[in-house]
């Protein structure tokens, strides 16, 4: 027992002191929790149109909820920061992707066209067609475009970081990307930030 503890034990009822501490601790913790701004860090690594949605939906929604948001775009994810977004989807090797017509009568829209990989791989322009159909579906279902979600992220002051190493690796130049990029950084800069986040996701 330290000197302070001895003094306190002599002058105060320890049970009362415990009670006071518990109450004070609860109040302080509640105060801190109320003042705490939640934060989200995302590592976005994929550059297809379908995989562009999860990071941008989560980041823009967190921004709307008033959270501090940062997204680190690395490898193919860097594609999502280009000035001109030309994102495509590839149904090849993805058995979970439904292949449905976005137009025509309902019975036609309901058919899931199971196209074998070998056929998809052999038809030139198959991915262009699939991308076109997906874009059409997105529009008709009232789902936001990637451009719109990215703008919402920027409006909510989400920090969008680009991985400098990937820029060098893929031979990109910085002017191919949107000017709002918060920084050209590496893993060593992003990790300490992610460490302090309440939510950290790798997508």
């Amino acid at each position: 027992m330290g000197a302070t503890d001895k003094l306190l034990a002599q002058s105060l009822d320890p049970a009362l002191l415990d009670q006071w501490f518990d109450q004070r601790f609860e109040a302080k913790m509640a105060e801190r929790e109320a003042a705490h701004v939640p934060s989200l860090s995302i590592i976005a690594t994929k550059g297809t149109m379908d995989w562009a949605y999860p990071p941008f939906i989560l980041a823009s929604t967190a921004g709307a909820l008033g959270w501090d948001v940062s997204v680190f775009f690395t490898f193919y994810g860097l594609e999502l920061l280009k000035k001109d977004l030309h994102l495509e989807i590839s149904p090849l090797g993805n058995p979970s992707m439904p292949m449905k017509m976005p137009f025509g009568p309902q019975w036609l829209k309901d058919i899931n066209w199971k196209v074998p990989n070998v056929v998809m791989a052999g038809i030139p322009g198959f991915e262009k067609v699939a991308t076109g159909l997906m874009a059409q579906t997105v529009k008709s279902k009232g789902v936001a475009s990637i451009d719109e979600l990215r703008s919402a992220c920027l409006e909510a002051d989400a920090k969008l970081y680009a991985c400098q190493m990937t820029v060098d690796l893929f031979g990109y130049s910085q002017d191919e990307f949107i000017p709002e990029i918060a920084g050209w950084i590496g893993a060593a800069s992003f990790l300490p930030q992610a460490q302090k986040s309440d939510v950290c996701l790798f997508i």
Partner: protein, 77 residues
């Protein structure tokens, strides 16, 4: 839709998370205490608006559903 709201937002036909993003945007243009009436068709918006208001501190004055449309009234805090 409530006619006595300061501003209205038509979020019909929009899917997650657009109703929330548009609501947030519309609220920034309002002054404290003013109200926003939102109409949406996204069934997820019912829970999303509750969560949005709980997180941001705005008051969800009312929420209702009829004939597949959801109506919300939010007072800016």
């Amino acid at each position: 839709m409530s006619t006595n709201a300061t501003q209205t937002l038509d979020a019909r036909g929009m899917n997650c998370p657009l109703p929330i993003l548009r609501t947030k945007k519309a609220l920034t243009d309002l002054a404290k205490g003013e109200t926003l009436a939102i109409t949406a068709t996204d069934p997820g918006s019912l829970k999303d608006m509750q969560a949005f208001c709980k997180q941001t501190g705005h008051e969800l004055v009312s929420s209702s559903e009829h004939q597949g449309e959801f109506e919300f009234l939010i007072r800016k805090s």
